[in-house]
């Protein structure tokens, strides 16, 4: 075991939690970028670079860069920004950068970013300048593939879960809320949907016709009705994919293309709705989710006020409740970037709540401890080895 840092991105700034070597004592930093809306902060495993996506309530979106592990920061020279539209036409404007992913190990200095409105961006100079990935952003079917910026997700539709196949820099995935899962095999030049088997917000392909699902509705391979909340590929066995969708928990083993709803094996009173899903870096059969209430008006809090992580050890066939240490009554919400693992053995797991609490398990979910509280609303949690 070794010490690590947690990068905690919040609605009011960036906080850092530093652990001792046993991960039992944690020290909270003073906030960086206090008052800025920090969507995502990610450390590059290939270098000392850390990128942080920021905006304020009124200032435009930008990306801050640190090349010394987060000690000092400078702003990107060209943050993600669409082309200026021709006179007389309406152009797109980046509202915020939502997601950051370091590039493939063979491409030092390359980063990928996802924004709202939904668009993919690449930097080839360590986050200094960002270019539009035109194979997706300027595709003739862009409007069919993506969600209208004026609709859907309260903070705007987002491009997220940018995952790179560790075996092949050209092979990548991302997800759109809403808009589904997308795959490229040519480094972003062209993209294909990967949505077979996924229920949409209006149609479940596995359900028989009923009053709730009239025959006039049809499953569509693309479109904003698809709503993957978080997609993971396994770091060692990247053909294994896990997905927490708006409509349930899914698993897929490539080269198959049809997702299987393993969330149907969750306890019925808990359901399989949520935002986050996390994998075990040494076992592709293991995953964790943090279920949320998807009934009635979708409170998106712990079902029945009983916060718990659920773990599967057998590819989603069975799920077990891990609630030791959590309050017996609490209405937590965990957003899609706010669950992380640290890669250590035993594996450490981390959750950031919208109520400003950070929870940690250093025994693979068997017991949970609160390691920070009273922070602003937490958007994202990432781990950094020290």
């Amino acid at each position: 075991m070794s010490a690590l840092r947690l990068l905690v991105s919040t609605r009011k700034g960036l906080f850092t939690l530093q652990s001792d070597s046993r991960r039992t004592r944690w020290t909270l930093s003073v906030p960086a970028f206090l008052g800025h809306i920090i969507q995502h902060t990610v450390a590059d495993p290939r270098s000392a670079t850390v990128l942080c996506s920021a905006k304020t309530g009124h200032l435009g979106p930008t990306i801050f860069r640190s090349t010394d592990g987060g000690t000092s920061w400078k702003e990107a020279e060209r943050p993600p920004a669409f082309d200026k539209a021709a006179d007389g036409s309406v152009g797109r404007t980046v509202a915020h950068t939502f997601w950051l992913t370091p590039g493939h190990a063979s491409e030092p200095g390359v980063w990928w970013a996802g924004t709202s409105p939904q668009a993919l961006w690449m930097s080839a100079d360590d986050g200094l300048n960002w270019a539009s990935v035109r194979g997706f952003n300027d595709h003739p079917d862009y409007a069919l593939r993506t969600e209208d910026p004026q609709g859907g997700t309260p903070d705007g539709p987002v491009l997220h879960s940018i995952r790179i196949d560790p075996r092949d820099a050209n092979h990548m995935y991302f997800a759109l809320s809403g808009g589904g899962v997308w795959e490229t095999r040519d480094h972003g030049a062209s993209w294909s949907p990967l949505n077979q088997g996924m229920a949409t917000v209006v149609f479940d392909p596995d359900a028989p016709p009923s009053e709730d699902q009239p025959t006039s509705l049809q499953w569509q391979p693309i479109g904003s009705d698809h709503d993957p909340h978080c997609v993971q590929i396994h770091p060692q066995w990247p053909d294994v994919m896990w997905q927490q969708n708006h409509c349930g928990i899914y698993r897929l083993e490539r080269p198959a293309t049809r997702w299987r709803r393993v969330g149907r094996n969750m306890p019925a009173h808990v359901g399989d709705i949520g935002f986050v899903i996390e994998t075990h870096p040494r076992d592709p059969d293991i995953a964790w989710v943090f279920p949320m209430d998807g009934t009635d008006v979708w409170p998106r809090t712990s079902p029945d006020g009983n916060p718990a992580v659920y773990m599967t050890r057998d590819r989603g066939e069975h799920w077990s409740c891990q609630n030791s240490g959590f309050p017996s009554r609490a209405w937590f919400t965990v957003k899609r970037q706010a669950m992380a693992q640290d890669g250590q053995d035993p594996l450490g797991l981390y959750l950031g709540m919208t109520s400003g609490e950070v929870w940690c398990s250093i025994n693979e979910g068997a017991h949970w401890s609160q390691i920070a509280a009273h922070l602003p609303e937490i958007y994202a949690v990432e781990t950094v080895p020290v």
């Binding site: 009124h58 200032l59 435009g60 990107a76 920004a81 200026k84 152009g91 404007t93 980046v94």
Partner: protein
């Protein structure tokens, strides 16, 4: 000419509330401001050359969103930002 910078943007001007920039139009002034203080323009003006919501620019005491507004020497440009929200 003199440009008044609101507090949320003074991290770009090393804390200065008043700075100097030049330009025959507001667009040219903002470009010059960005040369002197890299990155400041995009925080105020989006990529479609629209003044961002809640950003306010005053020329000759009048609020303008037109980047082609002509400027004369020795004029003062006031940039302000509404602080709504929570």
């Amino acid at each position: 000419m003199r440009v008044l910078i609101p507090s949320p943007l003074q991290s770009y001007t090393a804390g200065a509330r008043r700075v100097t920039a030049s330009g025959e139009t507001l667009r040219m002034l903002l470009d010059d401001l960005d040369r002197r203080f890299p990155g400041i323009r995009f925080r105020m003006i989006d990529e479609q050359d629209n003044v961002r919501p809640h950003m306010m620019i005053y020329v000759r005491g009048e609020r303008t969103r037109n980047l082609n507004t002509a400027l004369a020497d020795h004029e003062e440009v006031v940039i302000m930002q509404a602080l709504s929200g929570g």
